[in-house]
Amino acid sequence: MLRKLIFANFKLVYRASQWLRQRFTSTGILILSIMPVAGVFGFDTRSTLSFQIFSITLILLFTAMFYSLFFRGKFSIIRKLPEYGSVGIPLNYTCIIRNENKTAKRGFILVDELKNQFPSFAKFSKAKDPLDKNRNRIDRFIGYPRLVKIMQKIRGGSIKPINIDYIAEKSELETSIQLTPLRRGYLQFDKTRLAMAEPLGLIQGQKFIYNKDSLLILPKLYKTPRLNLQGKRSYHHGGVNNASIVGDSQEFISLRDYHPGDPIRSIHWRSFAKLNKPIVKEYQDEYFTRYGLILDTFLDEQSEHIFEDAVSVAASFMTAQKEQDALLDLMFVGNTSYRFTSGRGLAGAENILEVLACVQPAYESNIAEVELMLQQHSRECSAFICILLELDESRLKLVKSLSELNIPIKLLLLKESTDTNSTETEHDIHVIHHENLQQDLDALWTT
């Protein structure tokens, strides 16, 4: 109840904080902070002369506020965005600003703004911030720093303000803006803010130019080896479109690495001799290797960043796979069951990344549906990689079902803590820790 009440006031506090940050220059904030201090010490005008400093700062801010109301001008903005971005990697895009006024403008700031949305209380209360353990109890209980983090994530990126020194009348200026994406998915550009400080340099007059755009941010990728599961190729009925492209027919298609089950006669001996590893010739037929990648999306007690790690690991596997090697099915359950196939001329890595960029966690258990999907498609797949977010009873059941299929499986468990338990060892589950994600991935194929 108390937390709900506090949360209800957050909107006000957050907006006030945003307003302050947008309207005031750093010197303005300083003057604004000094004013109440001087006011408190100067409350008794007979004890100190601090009330004189209070008077000066008060009138300064009033005057600055009055001036800031008169920032006028007509501008237009054109944004030139790249096709994709990737989480955590700064990208530059171009922005063309046109001064439609009859006078030149100088000394203002251009800030491109992403759409902001206040989270619901449910989302706020479920969210966890790994930094919370370093915060004091009050901050943890009230949770305002956590809210700021959530808001940053909803916005999805941080954009550096651009100082524009001069723009002539009726002319255009092209400027490069740096955006650092903080999350995957579509970032919604909402408006562009032009801010110009009044003569005293304390408060900025503002002008908003509404110009909506969106940019797809792909998940963060890690260095992963190619999938090399010891799975047998499976028969795919002729009706499968893929079979016309991949298979064993006498029409030669390409050379590829040897997989267990490939006939000896398919070995291309010259390449074998040259590369010192078995290489086979590929022919068109209905037999081919098909891997299934199961992504656990059910988020219960875990922090959201564990889910992000899982998506990144899935994306890394999907992109590491060479298209000609095998087909790769990405399977997950959101509102409904999804299965996307890539490789061999079907969807490319970028398509799968786009899918993964938009995958959202499910807050209600969907493991049973995953199991169902597994039953439907297990015969077609040569091997499975399963990325789990936790190891509870329902997931253990899924793990057992996978084991009973008698095909190679690789079980990955994303964890925050670095401890391992006997259940994980018993089921040959590879634990990937949030802190050592890349190292754990590197170690994956050597263990």
Binding site: L20, R21, Q22, F24, T25, S26, T27, I29, L30, I34, V37, A38, F41, G42, D44, T45, R46, S47, T48, L49, S50, F51, Q52, I53, F54, S55, I56, L58, I59, L60, T63, Y67, K105, R106, G107, F108, P130, L131, N134, R135, N136, D139, S158, P161, D165, M196, A197, E198, P199, L200, G201, L202, Q204
Partner: protein, 655 residues
């Protein structure tokens, strides 16, 4: 918004420090600090303070601030806040020095805020960044200077100059300098008017509220007038706040009466005196003592502590007061109505009361001390007739009146019935027959007057709550009392007709928090009061108490440091292990050969180098030596001392 502050323009910090020095009379320090902080402009070298160094210096500044706060609070009580304000530029000096002489050109937010420090590097650039504290320091100097409270107009002008100087560097480029200047003139003009207005506002509002309080609420004891609660509806409530403390080795069997003043004329719920003149009592030469009656000497003394809200106040004193002594006292005055007024510092003060066998001389009765308001005249006549007072002697009258109130009236602090103004006492005497001390004291005084005995209404405190723990009488606001003084046989005597249950009844209303409030009051008394005579403040002992948390903190820091050092020792040993072999005796030889022949190429092994510069068999004589050196330098196992000796022996045989 760019949250990072730009540096203060050159010279501004010195200017603001000079203003501070001028106002607070720390001019020499101001010049030294100012020059120290501006000097880096002219020198190129900088010190590379690590984050840990900066954090520790920031912590040290915090500890200094704590020590200053405790010391100043102990010496100056709450007035010390302005003293702390005055010393702020010293407190922040360390951080400013780190900024000015450090390579970071600012202070990381993690040094300033522990919460950010705990987050570490993961805090993110929005929270963890380096900021310049030059401009805030300028403002702190100005606010600090304001505590000097001198030369108001000059101070305003200097503040205006410093702030304008600061704003000049921040002005918007879009506008011309003329616009900026005009804006600034406008701002300063209206600021000047505003600061004058604020002063006037304070004066006017104080006058207004004082009048309001005077009319409806609390006011300090007025020797010329007191309003009673006679006629007030509801329950009389008085607070548990401790007004004064009286040192006594053991409690007295009967309550002690400490009067504040007496009043002579009554009308419509108020007791008044004619214009009261106070006589200044001369100080005994060479002592902090004021003798009220030069002819009498003190027979006993009592130590008393009272909390003064103002520098001048009427204090409760016993009737037989003979002298006052205490270094907190500045001046002592007395009036003919028995009030004693002192001038002293605000807060808890201690003084010693000298007691003699004679009561303090109060003005002899006048006609006014026999006056009865016309609206009550018949009521008191009726009672006097009933008690047959007119035919009795003075002493008989006294005992009759005492008995009359004892037999017929009882004590109550609740009044629910509304009566017509001017009839409150009538209803008390004839209908309700219940009331609080003001009813009893007033009725007694007027009845004695009716019987021809001059009487006065006296207010003060009944001293009766003894604290064994503190060996002190605690006198609270609810112990405020009223009684009657009557004049017979050439002297004034006390007469209290209020039933003795009054004190326990009023104590029933005390709050559950009373013990806690008492403890806080005691702490405050102990930490802020001083000895009666000694110039040395007894609070120094209490300062030690306050320094306990500081000591604990420093011990913890010291202990932590020890731990760090222990860890370092371990690391050192470990690293020494890895660096073993770097002291191989072969190195001087290598240096010598390099000088004589050719130096080693980058990545060239010793063996390859020797083979290159000594073709043929000459190189072979070095092979064993190099092998030994390799073993000593790179093999982590083996007896290193022995290997080193072997190299030395081999070297000796070579030479």
């Amino acid at each position: 918004m760019n949250t990072k502050l730009s540096p203060a323009p050159p010279g501004l910090i010195l200017a603001s420090l000079l203003v501070w020095g001028w106002q607070t009379e720390f001019m020499l320090y101001a010049i030294i600090i100012g020059l120290l902080l501006e000097l880096p402009m002219f020198i190129k070298w900088r010190i590379n303070f690590s984050d840990k160094d900066t954090n520790q210096l920031a912590d040290l500044s915090g500890v200094i601030f704590f020590i200053i706060t405790v010391t100043v609070f102990v010496n100056y009580s709450f007035q010390g806040i302005y003293k702390i304000l005055e010393l702020l530029p010293f407190v922040l000096l360390l951080l400013m020095l780190v900024q000015c002489y450090g390579t970071q050109n600012g202070i990381k937010t993690s040094a300033l805020f522990i919460s950010i420090r705990r987050l570490g590097e993961r805090a993110g650039p929005n929270v963890l960044y380096t900021t310049n504290i030059g401009m805030p320091y300028v403002f702190i100097c100005l606010i600090s200077a304001s505590s000097g409270n001198r030369y108001s107009d000059h101070f305003f002008a200097l503040c205006a100059v410093v702030i304008s100087w600061l704003l000049l560097t921040q002005r918007s480029k879009h506008f011309s300098r003329i616009t900026w200047f005009a804006s600034l003139v406008f701002v300063l003009f209206f600021s000047y008017l505003t600061q004058n207005g604020l002063q006037k506002l304070q004066n006017d509002s104080e006058t207004f509220f004082l009048q309001l309080f005077e009319q409806y609420g609390w006011r300090s004891t007025d020797p010329e007038r007191t309003s009673t609660s006679i006629g007030s509806l509801g329950r009389l409530k008085l607070s548990d706040r401790i007004i004064f403390r009286l040192k006594a080795d053991k409690p007295s069997p009967t309550p002690l009466y400490f009067r504040e003043t007496s009043y002579s004329s009554y009308n419509y719920g108020s007791w008044r005196n004619p214009k009261v003149e106070f006589d200044i009592i001369g100080k005994t030469p060479g002592k902090n003592e004021w003798q009220l009656n030069k002819n009498k000497s003190d027979q006993d003394t009592m130590d008393m502590a009272i909390y003064l809200q103002n520098q001048s106040a009427i204090i409760p004193v016993p009737d037989n007061l003979n002298s006052l002594a205490g270094k907190d006292l500045i001046q002592v005055e007395t009036s003919i109505y028995g009030s004693t007024r002192i001038e002293a510092r605000e807060g808890w003060i201690n003084y010693r009361l000298g007691i003699s066998d004679h009561d303090f001389i109060e003005a002899t009765p006048a006609a006014v001390d026999l006056g009865i308001p016309l609206n009550y005249k018949t009521d008191f006549e009726q009672i006097a007739i009933k008690l047959d007072l007119y035919s009795k002697s003075d002493k008989e009258i006294i005992s009759t009146v005492q008995q009359y109130f004892k037999d017929n009236f009882y004590y109550s602090i609740t009044q629910n019935q509304r009566y017509t103004k001017g009839q409150y006492l009538t209803k008390f005497l004839f209908k309700d027959k219940k009331g609080h001390c003001e009813y009893f004291a007033t009725a007694t005084a007027l009845l004695l007057r009716e019987a021809g005995i001059p009487a006065r209404y006296t207010i003060g405190y009944s001293v009766q709550e003894y604290s064994n723990w503190q060996s002190t009488y605690l006198v609270r606001a609810r112990h405020a009392h009223a009684w009657t003084k009557y004049y017979i046989d050439g002297a004034w005597h006390n007469m209290d007709t209020t039933p003795s249950v009054w004190a326990p009844m009023e104590a029933e209303d005390r709050t559950l928090l009373e013990p806690l409030m008492d403890l806080l009051s005691w702490l405050r008394y102990k930490t802020t009061s001083s000895d009666i005579e000694s110039e040395t403040k007894s609070k120094s002992d209490w300062m030690l108490w306050l320094l306990i948390p500081l000591g604990a903190y420093l011990s913890w820091r010291f202990y932590s440091k020890q731990r760090v050092e222990k860890n370092n020792e371990r690391v050192t040993l470990h690293s020494e292990f890895f660096r073993l072999g770097t002291d191989s005796p072969i190195y001087p030889l290598i240096k010598q050969i390099e000088q004589e022949a050719d130096s080693r190429q980058s990545g060239e092994t010793l063996m390859a180098w020797i083979k290159r510069i000594f073709p043929g068999t000459k190189a072979e004589r070095y092979y064993d030596l190099i092998s030994l050196h390799y073993a000593y330098r790179f093999n982590p196992v083996g007896d290193k001392r022995k290997e080193k000796k072997q190299i030395s022996d081999n070297l000796d045989s070579l030479t």
